[in-house]
């Protein structure tokens, strides 16, 4: 048990890539938490996909011990958080477990969209904030200008911002001192009934479900019988540990401490993030407020390329879901793609990550359909339905009106590119809410339909601003609009996996682009193929793929049928990368590429 005033708990927050995980490395290293020979860059990013992409996806906690200048040794619990907007939920729940935040700002880039979003969350959580200016080893670093920017844009005092280089280690001792001096110690009563917050849970192949908690009041010990107040479930604590970052067993955790336990819990889904944990007997009366679960906002279909892999896909999805409660799935059948799953994700990066993991860790070949959002259908009979898949759109005459999710998007962009950004937002049915300047950077706030953003908005934003814009969003509300289902017909047959919901006014333009794209994406066949976009029975755009004229081997010589047979096998393998649709073969990649809006 550690005395309260010898504990400091904090999260490290920043815009993506500003150096959170690298700073965590230095803090871990300087305090000798991990042996020098076991150190590696972004030590906490332990998932393959994190290491490969160089980003943090899951928040990670480490307990370190720091002998401060005042002669006392402090226990510091640091939580490294992800920067990408899709994983903002990880940041918000992490913040609830700690009292302060290190706000890392890249001194070469300054305040970006997620910097802002994170600061507001930290302020909401009542945090003390210590600004840290990172990457001052770089020649382009402008710590003084960025200090001013922080004050101007965010409105917090940045005079004591600590200049550091997480790469070289410069300034790290100052950070440690500031943590101890400037962040508050946790509060809590040791003699009160146990009250702990369930911060996170994950599945470990050796240990089963591991639950991370922050103790508010009371003491938890190995062997204790506990109760989860929201679910009412009862468990016995099998193992109690702290993360350094490996698990190190500990006899008890008292107020202000962060640790993990196992309790023979079967699935991550049996735990609720934000739940209150207390003792089965003599528990506390009032639970903590809890937090809203993360809601999937982007949906898409995942289908096996080889229909025989459906069972393998189901197994893989179930296993993955064990560890990722924010990802939802249900079975789906498509006339074009056969059996698969409609899956919900926190955002596009989350979608990509899940798909990558399924393909890699479970060795599956998948077809991904276009991402879509959840539309609300207000039926004439008064019923309200959720539409996860445009293919399921009921007959229009039964629908009174349709609502779609809107977001509040914050974009920070250098002046020079502002025009392009405004045009992009306008093209995506955006309504400007706010436009302010900080130096040569503009901050625009737009009210946008999520449906227009889930697909390739982020890519387009990056490309029109040469990577200089940053973007953050929050779902705001559902709002009615003039939405219709657009079908795509290939060779006169509708392809359900290509159907999309669009705004009536934009349907024609979208339809035209999709038909043109498909014309390039679908290889020529032995016959000509009409491609049409239609709303209901009305065709709004069309293209034709000309028939292939010639594919024949001129010379067949010397009786080498073997070579011809091998060639045939190769062609057949190429065909496997296609989906047979009626008489037409559509390449798997077309289902996504057709929807990209380049113009």
């Amino acid at each position: 048990m550690t005395e309260l005033d010898r504990i400091r708990n904090f999260s490290i927050v920043a815009h993506i890539d500003h150096g959170k995980s690298t700073l965590a490395d230095r803090l871990i290293q300087l305090t000798g938490t991990v042996a020098e020979r076991d150190m590696k860059a972004q030590l906490l990013d332990s998932m393959d996909i994190e290491r490969e992409r160089g980003i943090t996806i899951k928040a990670n906690t480490v307990r370190i011990e720091y002998p401060a200048k005042d002669g006392h040794t402090y226990v510091l619990n640091l939580i490294d958080t992800p920067g990408h907007v899709d994983f903002a939920y990880e940041v918000s729940r992490s913040m609830r477990a700690v009292e302060g935040s290190l706000l890392v700002v890249d001194a070469t880039q300054g305040v970006e969209a997620q910097t802002l979003a994170n600061v507001y969350q930290a302020i909401d959580a009542g945090h003390e904030i210590v600004p840290v200016l990172n990457k001052i080893d770089l020649p382009a670093a402008e710590p003084d200008r960025i200090k001013e920017q922080i004050e101007d844009v965010i409105g917090i005092d940045a005079q004591d911002a600590i200049p550091i280089s997480a790469k070289t280690g410069l300034g790290i001792p100052d950070v440690l001192e500031a943590i101890v001096q400037r962040l508050p110690a946790p509060k809590g009563r040791r003699d009160a009934p146990l009250k702990a917050m369930l911060v996170d849970s994950w599945y470990d192949i050796y240990l089963g479900v591991v639950v991370m908690i922050r103790v508010m009041d009371g003491v938890i010990r190995k062997g204790d019988r506990i109760k989860m107040m929201q679910t009412g479930a009862l468990y016995g604590i099998d193992k109690l540990a702290v993360l350094k970052p490996q698990m190190v067993d500990i006899a008890e955790l008292g107020p202000g401490e962060i640790g993990v336990f196992t309790a023979s819990i079967k699935q991550v889904r049996d735990t609720r993030v934000g739940d209150t944990i207390t003792h089965e007997k003599k528990g506390c009366d009032t639970p903590l407020p809890g937090f809203k679960p993360a809601q999937p906002v982007v949906f898409c279909g995942l289908f096996p390329v080889d229909a025989n892999d459906f069972d393998a896909l189901r197994d893989a999805i179930e296993k993955l879901a064990l560890n990722d409660a924010s990802f939802s799935y249900e079975m789906e059948t498509s006339a074009a793609l056969g059996f698969g799953f409609r899956c919900g994700f926190l955002g596009l990066l989350h979608l990509e990550v899940v798909r990558d993991r399924l393909e890699r860790e479970y060795d599956l070949d998948l077809i991904t359909t276009a991402p879509s959002v959840v539309f609300k259908l207000f039926m004439r009979d008064g019923e309200v339905r959720e539409l996860h898949n445009p293919a399921d759109m009921p007959d229009l005459t039964l629908v009174d009106h349709i609502e779609e999710p809107r977001i509040k998007a914050t974009i920070m962009v250098p002046d020079d590119f502002l025009g392009d950004v405004l045009k992009l937002c306008q093209d995506r049915r955006g309504l400007q809410v706010d436009l302010t300047y900080a130096g040569s950077r503009a901050m625009v706030v737009y009210d946008l339909p999520l449906a227009e953003v889930v697909f390739d908005f982020y890519d387009r934003l990056k490309s029109v601003t040469k990577g200089y814009a940053s973007f953050d969003y929050q779902i705001s509300e559902y709002r009615q609009d003039n939405l219709v289902k657009m079908s795509i017909l290939v060779n006169d047959e509708p392809v359900d996996a290509l159907a999309i919901m669009v705004h009536r006014d934009r349907a024609e333009a979208r339809g035209r682009v999709m038909c043109e794209k498909l014309k390039d994406l679908i290889p020529r066949h032995m016959f000509k193929i009409p491609i049409q976009a239609a709303i209901g029975g009305r065709v709004i755009a069309r293209e034709t793929i000309a028939a292939l004229r010639k594919d024949v081997t001129a010379k067949c010589y010397g009786g080498d049928a073997t070579r011809k047979r091998k060639l045939l096998d190769k062609q057949k393998a190429g065909k496997k990368k296609m989906r047979q649709f009626g008489k037409v073969e559509i390449p798997q990649t077309a289902f996504i590429s057709a929807l990209k809006m380049d113009s």
Partner: protein, 386 residues
């Protein structure tokens, strides 16, 4: 009855040497400073002995000396090979014995000797009737030499076929039509007309990748040239009996028809392929490709074979389809069904017939004119079904 009997039995002899390597050629051909003709004769004879011992009692309907450039083979070797084939197997009374020859002056001088050795059909690699184009194709003969060689060949042999390559760089359909008419005037009932193919691993492939082969026809022009070729030959009374082969009735190359009808053939020489039905099962054989390796294998191991594979019925069916669909006579549906264990895919055929690519008549499946142009695709479509 074994399936191969539908196609017959022939012997292919590969002579892997050439005076120069043509930049478009991916055949198993090599330029060698000297060739020990005696050693090669012994090795070829030994292989005949070996293969004949495996297939006793067969009647040889055709022999084909291919290459490489078999007209660089000493006529005495040709004579010995033909004699040995006749001794180990039984030679059909009307046996067809073809020799591929390059139309250079050296070779032309020997044509009479080949006929003396038993050859009764010559196939001349004329390739083009344009000196500049012959140069571009890397050929060492010119048009005048080729004309002389054709005349000499025709004076000693009743059946002389000419090979031409079209769709060459900057060749217009009109120029090709004129050239083809000229070739038809020179010919005696058989022409092999190949559209220039850029084969992987050749000098032409490298040049094409580097953009150094400008003026090759695109798909549309290639198609047009193929169609013109067929039209002109039809009119001249030499219709296509296979994708690239044209003959007056009765003048078809019977040896090649054995391949396309999926008969059996013994493959002798480096890189030569064979199909031999032994004990009711078809085997695919291939010789070592490198001439020196093959020679050594024959001398030291008593066999030049590098691989021998027993074909499954499905593979046989596929090969039959692959080969026979190239021909005008097409695929015998009953024969296919017997090989494959299932009939030809009826529904697919109906679809493709609707598009005018296939036709089924009197139990035979044929590619139409348009279908022949898309043969590779048709075969994928037809062979996919299990």
């Amino acid at each position: 009855m074994d399936d191969w009997r539908h196609g017959g039995f022939g012997v292919y002899v590969h002579w892997p040497f050439c005076a120069a390597k043509c930049p478009y050629c991916d055949f198993n051909s090599h330029v060698a400073a000297t060739v020990d003709q005696d050693r090669w004769r012994r090795a070829l004879l030994a292989e005949i002995d070996r293969l004949a011992a495996e297939t006793p009692g067969r009647v040889v309907e055709t022999v084909f000396f291919g290459g490489g450039t078999p007209s660089l083979m000493d006529p005495s070797v040709t004579a010995a090979v033909i004699a040995r084939i006749g001794a180990r197997w039984q030679m059909a009374p009307d046996v067809e014995i073809t020799l591929e020859a390059n139309p250079g002056s050296v070779e032309a001088g020997r044509f009479r000797d080949y006929i003396g050795a038993g050859v009764n059909r010559l196939s001349l690699g004329v390739q083009a009737l344009d000196d500049a184009d012959l140069k571009r194709l890397g050929r060492i003969h010119d048009v005048a030499e080729a004309r002389r060689a054709i005349a000499i060949a025709q004076s000693v042999c009743d059946r002389v076929s000419l090979d031409l390559i079209y769709a060459r760089q900057n060749q217009t359909p009109e120029a090709w039509a004129a050239e083809l008419h000229a070739a038809l005037r020179l010919s005696q009932g058989h022409l092999s007309l190949y559209q220039l193919t850029i084969e992987d691993g050749t000098t032409f492939a490298k040049r094409a990748r580097a953009g150094q082969l400008p003026g090759l026809p695109d798909e549309d022009r290639g198609t047009d040239m193929y169609l013109i070729t067929n039209e002109i030959c039809d009119e001249a009374g030499l219709p296509a009996y296979e994708i690239s082969n044209h003959a007056a009735p009765g003048q078809e190359c019977r040896h090649n028809m054995i391949y396309w009808r999926y008969g059996d053939y013994a493959g002798i020489g480096p890189g030569a392929h064979g199909r031999m039905t032994l004990g009711g099962q078809r085997h695919a054989t291939a010789g070592h490709r490198a001439p020196a390796l093959w020679l050594q294998a024959v001398e030291e191991q008593g066999s030049g074979e590098v691989s021998r594979e027993t074909l499954r019925r499905a593979e046989e069916a596929e090969e039959y389809l692959l080969m026979a669909l190239r021909t005008r006579e097409g695929v015998d549906a009953d024969r296919y069904a017997a090989l494959a264990g299932h009939p030809l895919p009826r529904a697919r055929i109906d679809d493709l017939s609707e598009f005018g690519l296939l036709e089924m008549h009197d139990g035979r499946l044929r590619a139409t004119r348009d279908g022949r142009l898309l043969l590779n695709r048709l075969i994928v479509e037809l062979s996919e079904t299990p």
